[in-house]
Each structure stands twice: as C-alpha cells, then as structure tokens.
Amino acid sequence: MTPAERSFAEQLERTAGVEWRPAGEPNFVCTLRAQGREAFLRAKLPTPKHEDWRYTSLAALAAQPFAPAPRARAWAGSTRELPAAPRLVFVNGRLDPDATDLTRLPAGVRMGSLGTALRERPAAVQPHLGQVAAPGAHAFTALNAGLFEDGAVVEIEDGVSCAPTLHLVFLDSGACVAAHPRNLILAGRHARAAIVESYRGEGSYLVNAVTELSLGEGAHVEHDRLQEDAPHAFHVGVVQVAQAARSSFTGQSIALGGELARVEARVLLGGEGATCDLHGLYVATGKQVLDHLVYVDHASPRCVSREVFKGVLDGASRGVFAGRVHVREGARKTDASQVNSNLLLSEDATVDTKPQLEILNDDVKCSHGGTVGQIREDQLFYLRSRGLSEALARAMLTWAFASEMVRMVGPEEARARVQRAVTARLPHGALLRHDSLLSEPALGGLWGSGARSPQAEVERSSTGSDLGSPEPAAASTRNGEGAPTEVA
C-alpha cells in the first residue's frame, strides 16, 4: 500500500468501530460507510493501468499520508469574498455556522448540513444518499462514503422555482490533510434552481467531494462548479446526476486551481426526453494537471446530451479530457454531441483528449470533435497592426477562446467571479479591461442589439467522428503564411 492508502485504510478501519460512530448516525449510513470501506480497501487508489486514469498519475497524491482535516473555522481571508446568501459554508468538510447565511431562502427550499439532516430527518435522506452515487463503482466515491463527515443537503420541493442562487462554499486548509464533503441535491418534479459549488483553500490538502443530484420529472437545475483550490492542493470531485423524464440539467465545471484536480460528471439520463448540457473550462499553468471525465448514460429514449469542454494550457501543464457517451439498446432517438477544444500557450503544455462513444442501437445522432491549437499568427498580427501590444493581443485572443465557457455560467454573480478568476490566471490577463469583457452593455443598449460572440476559433484539427480514438491528439502548428498565391 502507498502512504496515502495506508492512512486512508487506518481511518476507514476506525469507522468500523462503534466508538467512532458520530452520535445519532442512523444504520443506513453505517451500511453505506461499510460498503465504501470495503470497496476502497479492495480497489485502492487507481494507477495509470486503470482505464479511467490512463493520463493522470496519482503518484504525488499516493506518496503522502493524509490525516483527517482538523476542525477549523473559516479564516478571515476566506470570508471576505463569500457569495451572497443563501449560502452554506463548509470548512475542512464541516459546516461553519458562523459563515453560513440562510437568509433569503425561499419557501419550498430547504438547505442545510448533511450531518444535521442525518440526525434530525434521516428519513428524508435515506432514499437518496449513496443511491445516485453508489460507493462501489469508484475508489474516491467509496473513500468519500467511508469517511465523509458533513456536506450540504439541498431540497427543492415539487413545482418550486427557487429564484436566488444557492451557494455551497468549501474552504479547506492544512498540510497533508483530507476532507471528504458529501452533498445531496434533490430537485422535485418541475422544480427549478441554480446551485453554485465553489472550492478554495490554503495549503496542500486533499478535497475529495461527492455531489449527488437527483432531478425529478420536468425539473430544471443548473449546477456550476468553481474550483479555485490552493496551488499545491489535490482536488477530486464527482458530480453524479440522476435525471427523470423531461428534466434538464446544465452542469459547468470551471477548473482553475490545484496541483492535480480531477472532476467527473456522471449523468444518468434515466427518463424519456431528459436533456443535459455539460460544460467545462480548465485553465492550467506551471505543472498543474487538470483532468475531466464525463460520462453520460443514455438509458432512455429521446434524450439529448451536449458536452462542450475547453482548455487553456500554459507552462508545462497538462489537460485531460475523457468523454464517454453510452447509448443503451432501448435509448432510441438519442441525440448526443461532444466537443473538446484546447488552446496551448506554450511548447511544454500538453493535452490528452479521448472521446468514446458506445452505441447499442441504430436510431441515434451522435457526434464528437476536438481541436488542439495555438494562437493564430494572422489574428495576432491583425491585432498588433492596430496598436495592441503583443501581450495584450495574446491575452485578448486567449480570453476570446475561454470566454465562451464563462458566458455559459448562468448566475450573474458567479459569472463575474469566474470572469475575474479566469482572467487573473491568463498570461497578461491583467491587461484586459474587466468592464467590457463579456459584453458591451452600454453599447448593446444604445444600439438595441445584444449579439453574443460565439466561440473563438483555434486552428482546427478535427478528431473526426468515428468511434473512440484513444490516441492523444497532437498539437497542430500552422503555417498561415505558406500559401504562395495572390488573389487580385
């Protein structure tokens, strides 16, 4: 066993003892923990031999032991930028009641700590916890099931449309400590809500989060995930979604922080006519590894899935995207598409992109494509010839590429935050004027036209649309100046 595995195994063994059991934890949680413990001890941390971890090595994580994250309060620096209420704030995986603020929570919406819900209303949690994300399937989900202490429970009743954005904030700090927050989001039939889950911290911790979302028939949920963890942190996040008929889910993952961060979005389209839009943006530099795995299970007819993921990679960073679409036999009229585009800003940055389609019936429309490119010389010269410095021109073109994903973040406050966070990470991003990046609202108003700028184009090297091409795409370098013709 690796040092990390040994430390986790010890903690898991302790949870098996009666004395560890938090006061009032119901029996079904003990069962869930036992399943998690057994599954983790059997599977242990995945190695690159594991198909889902081929491009992302956990060696650095495995090499160090992790203690349970200590009890702590939100620190001054972290509370300065807390989002508006209603918000739940978790510090090192446990609710911080002082930083939490549940004012403005509308009727029909319940939001609180999982620990409290398990003590006070276990019957509300039992049918769902560990059901959307079963602990057996995934080492980190199993570890989370065994070791979680707290997390958020959000319930939106049938037919309730929740106007304010619900914020779940996770703050972590410490060295060689791990927190395993566990979240459960339940949207009733025809319920509507937007939830923003954000991660920040200080130190070299591991946060291993699992979020289970269950969408009732006709529910509309937007779930934005903003990962701004500390530069030496490890982040593993699993978002597991179960959708009933005609529900629609929009999930975005903005991955910016951490030394190694893996986010998985796993969606079960379990009822007829359900749709999901999964978006992601990763902006990496230095030696960061930012990894996304997306798995969409088309288990019902007439479901639609759309995936758009973009990466901006500088320094010696790595981006990884694996998108798997599984269309089951009975899932007729499936419509699935997947795009992964990457902009490489340096010679040493790399990206591995792996689309996989598994289609078990004929009545489907599926496509996938991907690009890996660099900033185009002709665009750069065009901007410079108008007086923009090379640094500003590069920042502008990079932002143009990334901004498509930022625009997709629905709640305005979250979008503004994402914009600031993304531009702060772009080379020379400080040169960009924040006031007018996403739109020219004054101009739009005056001219009565609010056209939104669609995606920026990098040089295309399509990976085609045949079944699974497991080879990493190579960067294409372009010779825009090569064509020796003059057109009069």
């Binding site: 410095s389 004054a442 101009l443 100046e481």
Partner: protein, 259 residues
C-alpha cells in the same frame, strides 16, 4: 514622410521585393499597381511589420525614423495603418471593444489621454456614419460572419477611428461589387487630408476611378518599373501589364505570399 530605398524582402526563402524605391509625401495618394505576384501585398505587409516576411536589405524611414526596427504595434503608434486584403475574423472579440482598445492603445502610446466608453461610443458612431456601416456590426465579433463588403468597410471604419498618418490599402477593392466599392471609396476619400498620405495597392484601374491618385507606380518582379500620373493607370487598363513587363529587362515574376 515615407522613404523606401532598395528594399529587398521575401518569405520562406523566396525573394519577392528586389530593390524597391518609393517616396511618399504627406497629403499624397500613391497607387501601386501590378500583375499578380509582383510583390504588391508583400510591400504592404513589410511596411506594416508582418513578421512572416524577412527583410533582406534596403531602408525604410518614416518621418525620419527607421521603420523596419519597429514592432507592428509601434508602427501603428507612429501612424501606420494597413487595411488588409483579407481582414481576419476574430471570434469572441467584440468589434467595438477591439476598436476602443486599439484606439486607446494608440493614444496611450502617444502620451494622450484615453477616452472612456461613452465618449468613445459617440466618436465611433460618428465615424460609422462616415463609412456608412451598419451599427449592428459594432456589437458582433470582429469580422466574424461579415460579408466581403462588410469586412472591407470595417477596415475603413478602423482607419477612420484610428486616423493614421499613412494608410496602406491592400486591394480594398477585391471582391467588392460596385456599390460596396463606392461606399469604401467614399470612406477613403472622406479621410483624405493634407497631413495624411495613402498608399493604394490594387490590381485594377477601376478603384482609381473612385480614389484619384496623385501618383501611379507599376510593380513588376518586386520593383517599381515605371511611375506616372493618373493617366498611367488608364493606359494599363487599355494595354494590360504585358507591355510593361516586356519593356524593361524581362525578369521572373516572383510568387507573392498571401498575408
């Protein structure tokens, strides 16, 4: 204003400009004509500072300064503007945001005060009227999905906003129908001024019916082989380029790179 002496330049190992001389004074409009591949667009690109061209020899001074030593953005700050033959589409960058950023970058480089969004908007609207550009295009991404005529008009709008000292128009007439051509030419003519020079690169005499040049130069094989007044353009229209290519010493017509 602009003095070019013995300019030699090429791209990817091919020599294109083979010792070109040209003198442009403030207020003058010079037309550069020539057959395909004679080096017209290369000249435009070299003057604007496109790094894909290699300068092999010669001198270019602009208002007494060595132009070739300057980065493209520095040349823009000195007052050089290139209207592209193929304006580049830049998805995700708003047209007006780009224009304001460029405008303020030039102001800053010249030590002038930047304009805020509202003041710039008023100025840009007035300039858009001047070039008769559809205001809806201001909110779109730079050149993205623009028609050929809209792209060229957008170039002239940028010129009208940035108010260069020397405007180089590289085949602004290519791909335009007669109405679009007239609109572009009207925009250019509105910007003619005693302190502003223009270098109009074109294959056809047609454009020169709308933009009357003071001087016409004919380029063949990377050099200016003959110069004259507007009447030279008419003669070219009548006789084609063949007679000029034959009269001076015959030479290979170099391939010209497309920017």
């Amino acid at each position: 204003m602009l003095t070019i002496q013995g300019l030699k330049a090429g791209v990817a190992g091919r020599d294109i400009l083979q010792g070109l001389d040209l003198e442009v004074k403030a207020g003058e409009v010079h037309a550069i004509m020539g057959p395909n591949g004679s080096g017209k667009s290369t000249l435009a690109g070299v003057l604007a500072g496109r790094e894909t061209y290699t300068v092999a020899g010669g001198k270019v001074t602009f208002e007494g300064e060595d132009l070739l030593a300057l980065a493209p953005e520095k040349r823009a700050a000195r007052g050089i503007f290139l209207a592209f033959q193929y304006p580049v589409e830049i998805p995700g960058v708003g047209n007006l945001y780009f224009l304001r950023t460029a405008f303020n970058a030039l102001r800053k480089a010249r030590g002038e005060e930047e304009l805020d969004a509202m003041d710039f908007l008023a100025f840009a609207r007035e300039r858009m009227k001047l070039v008769k550009m559809d205001p809806a295009l201001a909110n779109r991404s730079v050149n993205e999905g623009f028609s050929g005529g809209e792209k060229k008009r957008n170039e002239i709008l940028q010129m009208a906003v940035l108010e260069p000292k020397l405007a180089i128009l590289d085949e602004v007439d290519s791909g335009l129908d007669i109405d679009a051509l007239r609109a572009v030419a009207d925009g250019v003519n509105a910007l003619r001024a005693p302190e502003r020079a223009m270098l109009v690169v074109t294959h056809y005499q047609r454009l020169l019916e709308y933009i009357r040049p003071d001087h016409v130069h004919v380029m063949v094989g990377g050099r200016i082989v003959t110069s004259g007044g507007p009447e030279l353009a008419l003669e070219l229209e009548k006789r084609g380029y063949g007679w000029i290519e034959k009269e001076p010493s015959p030479r290979h017509v170099a391939w010209e790179a497309r920017p």
